[in-house]
Symmetry: C2
Subunit: 414 residues, 2 copies
């Protein structure tokens, strides 16, 4: 790992930070995301050395393949100048504002061999909101472009209600459900964050340029694609991993039979995030995808803001982990429900979520949401028969019944 | 057990059958259903002896309590005469037409200590359909009286489609969803069966007298309450156990927040039957109960006839168990999916439905339906960690991959 970004303050530090940003801007343009080999190479050598070696072609075979087509085209100066002019900024892992903790899920999943979920090398950001703060317990609200009035109304209502409860709403700025979600969030005063599958200045979708301006005023518009990068079908799928990673859960409001909903849910599942779906009239073609997700247990049914909050654990059970230092004791960070779920797990035998719910007294929908969270924190693991304590983690760290040591009363840092 | 009904044919046999019917008619009027102590007493001593001893008061304490208020009022002659006049019949466990196999679930559950699910002592039947044949793979379609147009339309469409696929539709003849389900079934030519919480001649609900006539023409109207018994709120809840027991699964089409849907689903769950629920628009108060059932995993979401068929296992996986003799080998009766689920279970360690689905390759929704069926057949049991083979049942009776010995190609008896 590198410490190039930790150079303190002052003119020299600023120059160093600028150099890091130039290196990252170059790397972001040098490969089409997701670029797992390049991401690992940058993580191992730091952005300055990595950029220099990519330029020279002095890299391992797989990194060479990812960067072959674009490594000779360095647009970093141009991109940074365009961004500065338009009021955008480049956010990198070296910056305080980097949402390191939620993006860690991408690193963990990639490390486990999951495809297509490599972490981003940086994020172009336009807007007023601090990204590290916006992601805290945020929820993605997404769905079909060809939405019905019912779907758009429901998306807007959900987003409005979530923002009113202090939850930032992330979406993809597309027509239909995405746009309705952003509008509902804005109507409640924001914040809302749009994650794009193209450059921030691509003006896409054309009918949402005004909406994107309003989102930037009250939240943020972000993308890992350099300024000028045009939208492309595959980029929206790649973008979905960021929506999933940056939020605690994803709500699919309307989706057709062969929609991206399955992709969204499987990406979220790989990252250990909660997938939720809103039901609709059974005759509606745009609810079929949601009903499939629910029927096949890929998604939890949500019909209200409080359903969403309880599914992602915002009803008095979630601390502000995002900007906090990692806990010293593995279970220090857990809220009371997570703690009860953790305490219900055994060391060897896997338990079904139903059995964990019975044992812990925590509602099944919450158990389903908490188990992947515990897995991500390294406290639980899946096995053939269900869920158990992760190997190497002390069980029953806190005696049963104790309500101390939970995260929600911990003072916020940052 | 008794053999009073097995007296062959001829005038003497008819007289014996009449005597049994008189005894059962008396017993049906002697206690308010469900009467678990009386049911056990009748099962143990036979209806003739049981009726005689109830009359005399020569019964165990709990039977005495159940029959105390009514044992001196013998309306059996009057009830049988009224029934004969109106073209009803009394169906008893001694009759060939008695749906013994599905009603066995009530006996099993009562034997395990479940409350309020004692088997009926007989059933008054009005209609053309043979009840033992109607129950074969039947589905109950029920829901709110104060239904919406959407709910009634959906109930009618589902019922119509199920009947078109050869599945009889059972319901409760109430206003709203029940009536729509019966009408949809009738539009497809029937059969449909109404299970009432009052006497067959109570004329209730008043607006459905014509509908009940049409149901009797194409199916059956049944009740365990004697002719003249008025409807009562508690009788509808008691009636629900018969709807659950006589069908392979129950579909709740619309239900409010504090509706009978929870009661229906818990009764069906106790009996090892599948509970399904139809989603609707999230703003609709009459879909809230359905959404709760789905969200809390009490019910499987169904949005189409094929969803219902696959959930109850009618897509090439169900034999005609109803009138068949009990199988000699415990697994002889199983269809190929049930066999695969059975083969996936272990002897000690309980598996979650998810793990069973993965192991067997059978869809999760089907696994959830088949496990309680296997439990009811004594082939599987629940334990702390999930599902395993029942103690005492040989595992792997049929070698994995073998498709022989399944129920669906067995010739129908009766």
């Amino acid at each position: 790992m590198n410490a190039e970004g930790d150079a303190g303050t002052g003119p020299r530090a600023e120059a160093a930070a600028d150099a890091v940003h130039r290196a990252r801007a170059y790397l972001l343009g040098a490969a089409e995301p997701p670029a797992p080999a390049l991401a690992a190479f940058v993580a191992g050598h730091g952005p300055m050395e990595a950029a220099e070696r990519v330029r020279r072609g002095d890299v391992p075979e797989r990194v060479a393949q990812e960067t072959e087509a674009r490594r000779d085209t360095d647009r970093s100066e141009r991109d940074l100048a365009r961004a500065a002019e338009a009021g955008y900024r480049l956010l990198t892992p070296e910056d305080d504002e980097w949402p390191a903790w939620p993006l860690l899920s991408l690193e963990v999943a990639t490390g486990r061999g999951a495809d297509g979920v490599a972490p981003p090398l940086g994020l172009w950001v336009r807007g007023t909101a601090r990204l590290d703060e916006s992601v805290d317990g945020a929820v993605a609200v997404v769905g079909a472009r060809a939405a019905t009035e019912y779907g758009e109304y429901t998306a807007a209502e959900l987003a409005h209600g979530l923002v009113a409860e202090g939850v930032a709403v992330f979406s993809g700025a597309a027509y239909g459900i995405d746009g309705a979600a952003h509008r509902g969030a804005l109507a409640a005063g924001g914040p809302t964050v749009a994650v794009l599958g193209c450059g921030l200045d691509a003006g896409y979708p054309a009918g949402h340029v005004g909406l994107l301006n309003r989102i930037a005023d009250r939240g943020a518009v972000i993308s890992e694609y350099p300024p000028g990068a045009p939208p492309a079908r595959h980029r929206f799928l790649v973008r979905n991993r960021l929506l999933a990673a940056l939020t605690a859960g994803t709500v699919v409001v309307e989706a057709g039979r062969r929609s991206g909903a399955r992709n969204t849910s499987s990406t979220a599942g790989v990252l250990g995030k909660v997938v939720m779906a809103v039901p609709g009239p059974v005759g509606s073609a745009t609810s079929v995808g949601c009903h499939e997700l629910i029927r096949e247990a890929y998604a939890t049914l949500v019909g209200s803001v409080s359903d969403v909050l309880s599914t992602v654990g915002r009803l008095g059970d979630h601390g502000g982990e995002v900007t906090a230092p990692r806990p010293r004791r593995p279970t220090d960070e857990l809220g009371p429900q997570a703690l009860r779920v953790h305490e219900a797990l055994g060391r060897r035998r896997g338990l079904s979520p139903e059995a964990v719910a019975e044992e812990s007294g925590v509602p099944l929908a919450r158990v389903r949401a908490l188990l992947p969270e515990l897995e991500l924190s390294g406290l639980a693991e899946r096995c053939e028969t269900g869920w158990r304590l992760a190997a190497g983690v002390p069980d029953r760290v806190i005696s049963p019944g104790s309500g101390t040591g939970t995260g929600e009363n911990r003072p916020r840092t940052g």
